[in-house]
Amino acid sequence: MKKSVFFGALTVAGLVAGAAAAGTVDDIKARGKLNCGVTTGLVGFAAPDANGEWNGFDVGVCRAVAAAVLGDPKAVEFVPTTGKTRFTALASGEIDMLARNTTWTFSRDVDLKFEFVGVNYYDGQGFMVPKELGVSSAKELDGATVCIQTGTTTELNLADFFRSNNISYEPVPIETNAEAQQQYLAGACDVYTTDASGLAATRATFENPGDHVLLPEIISKEPLGPLVRHGDNEWGDVVRWTLNALIAAEELGVTSANISEMSMGTDNPEINRMLGSEGNLGEQLGLSADWAKNAIMAGGNYGELFEKNIGESTPIGLARGLNAQWTNGGLIYSPPFR
């Protein structure tokens, strides 16, 4: 008797869960806010300013999705997550999507039951050394002491790289990037290794950035992208195509400056379909016809977001590299809007 009551309650809870998870888009519209998981702070990707306003490259994706669904880039509740809490927060429904420079891997996609909707930054693990060490390749680092963040994929990549090249190293485990900066500058390690974007951001804060060099070797693939839960494909489509709209907008020359003019109608049918003056793509997503226009107006197209937050005009100064449009020899590529 007790048991059946218990299982009955479980079933009800499960049904409620199923019902609640059935329509994320409807939930967001009813709530009036998008719950977007971001990092607790990573230079260029997400950080609150002195007024508590969030800015950054990943934050830009959140704002674009909020603008596409709700028409208001400010209608976002940013939920700071750590490396340990991010996946549970997404799986439990505390957040609707996660845009937290998370690497797309097999096990996260399949085993953790998430859906990566695309890639907004192609990163890879690199090395930084002081110039005076006179090292020009990571293969010359035999016997070096290496500062490495514990519990990350970078730790495993490092071990793989040194073993496959048959050279030795001594790891100096550190917890956070800030600690790594202090240790590296104090000379506790010869080499600092983490994602290349993080290395560039770290080096930019040094007093004399010129005294340190990034080695040419990139020893891992780190495709970073936004992700959602399994089980709500409509919502996954909304996030995927919002990201694709930002990318396609750059390719098609649609910027936040000329978008109001272009949304009136242009000679290019793909732009017209995307911005809603032709066809019913918005309706198919369950959104308004100007969803892509709102998303692009939120912070600009992909290229504008990149330049404003992490590009060469910022102190971080990342080159487009792999993250250039495919037309410019990069990997950033959107399927057609048709």
Binding site: T40, G41, V43, V79, T88, A178, Q181
Partner: protein
């Protein structure tokens, strides 16, 4: 005549003590140079103090206050002192101190946090200085648990009022049931009825009244709480709730009732056997997975509950130490006076046991207050979490010691006050003279 003894007939004039035993020199000889070993220690210590201060003081005072970024600080250092080594860039504290204190709390509502602090101090006065504070202040203390959340979170005033009404219901139930059904039923009624009220009715009633007579202030979400205010809030709740729970647990552990004893021992040993971090992860992650999606169980409330339980388990053991230190005669004396269990505890046992435990209790308080910084690990923006977020701003990336120095300063003020208060209390309650 032959055995004449010398007898002094007048007093010798008083002489000044030797110059080496009075005044500054005397003090120095007495305290710093009383032997060759102590003299060496003194010289070494002075050298060490000089070495530390000569590094820290220039760092603190030869610093840049008006700068908008780390690079600007460095330019100022180069322009003023010609080197960037050993100067603090306080510009970051200058720009972000409000954020470090209040988190993301809306800036036009800071007054509510400040008012809460004032109310907190007033409500604590009769507890901390019971012999000096006017008795009327106890009323402030009584309403404080309802006013504090209302001021901080805002919203309808009827929520806290209905929560307070639960206690009124419990009291009424007791008075009504005692003559009718006896004291045991009355006690059970006084516990069960308010719980039913809180969980089943209070929310609906508060909503209904709010619909008729809307009184309220702008509500603030838990997500916006942060900074040092969050540490103080968590600290006050954990400290305030853990002491009574700890006393009950300590008494329960010494109880002769098997089930009560087993429950208390089990709770204390379980909580003390698990790290606080684990409990916080349970609060933030596991509960999320167990509860049905859409359940809005406030994250700060969850953390408060976990920290309170954690502190209470330690508090129980500290108080049990005080109870164990009391001679058996005190218990027997209480029995011989014909006092019942609660009277004996209230009048004889607890006043002495708590007095003995004061240093341990305050240590636990200070410990739990500092442990509030652990919430940064589950993504709450307390001061440590905010310092990471500030470092993620391109303007301040690379800044390190200045933020931690400021945070340490904030914590030192609070912890040192607690420590001084406990010494004052020990002096006040000292009856061994």
């Amino acid at each position: 005549m032959s055995n004449q003894a010398f007898v002094r007939t007048e007093m010798l004039p008083e002489q000044h003590p030797p110059a080496t035993t009075v005044g500054v020199i005397g003090w120095l000889r007495e305290n710093l140079f009383s032997g060759w070993f102590n003299s060496i220690l003194t010289v070494v210590s002075l050298a060490f103090v000089y070495y530390v201060l000569s590094g820290i003081l220039p760092w603190i005072f030869q610093s840049a206050w008006n700068a908008d970024s780390l690079n600007e600080c460095r330019e100022i250092f180069i322009a003023t002192w010609g080197s960037t080594e050993g100067h603090a860039c306080w510009g970051v504290v200058n720009e972000r101190w409000l954020q470090l204190l209040y988190g993301f709390y809306p800036s036009d509502l800071y007054w509510r946090v400040n008012l809460t602090l004032v109310v907190t101090l007033i409500a604590m006065a009769p507890v901390l200085f019971s012999d000096q504070a006017p008795r009327q202040l106890w009323y402030v203390t009584a309403v404080y648990p309802f006013v504090m959340p209302w001021l901080l979170w805002g919203g309808s005033i009827w929520g806290p009022l209905m929560a307070a009404a639960g206690f009124g219901i419990g009291y009424l139930a007791y008075r009504v049931l005692v003559p009718v059904a006896g004291s045991l039923v009355a006690v059970i009624g006084a516990v069960v009825l308010p719980i039913l009220w809180w969980f089943a009715l209070a929310g609906t009633v508060a909503g209904a009244i709010q619909g008729i007579i809307p009184i309220g202030i702008e509500s603030v979400e838990s997500r916006q709480f942060g900074g040092f205010m969050l540490a103080v809030l968590l600290g006050i709740v954990a400290i305030g709730c853990s002491l009574p729970i700890g006393i009950v647990l300590a008494l329960g552990r010494q109880s002769d009732l098997l089930i009560v004893k087993a429950l208390c021992v089990g709770f204390i040993e379980f909580i003390r056997g698990v790290p606080l971090i684990t409990l916080l992860f349970v609060a933030s992650l596991l509960l999320n997975l167990f509860l049905p999606p859409g359940t809005n169980f406030d994250i700060i409330l969850r953390v408060m509950i976990m920290m309170t339980l954690f502190a209470a388990a330690y508090m129980a053991e500290v108080i049990r130490g005080g109870l164990a230190a009391l001679p058996k005669g005190q218990y027997e004396g209480a029995d011989s006076l014909g006092l019942n269990y609660w009277q004996a505890q209230r009048l004889i046992i607890m006043p002495q046991a708590l007095k003995i435990s004061i240093p341990g209790i305050v240590s636990t308080f200070i410990g739990i207050f500092k442990d509030t910084t652990l919430v940064s690990i589950i993504g709450l923006f307390d001061v440590i979490g905010l310092s990471n977020a500030i470092r993620a701003d391109t303007a301040w990336n690379g800044i390190y010691w200045e933020l931690f120095a400021f945070i340490a300063f904030l914590f030192f003020i609070v912890c040192f006050s607690m420590s001084r208060y406990s010494m004052y209390l020990e002096r006040k309650l000292h009856t061994g003279h």
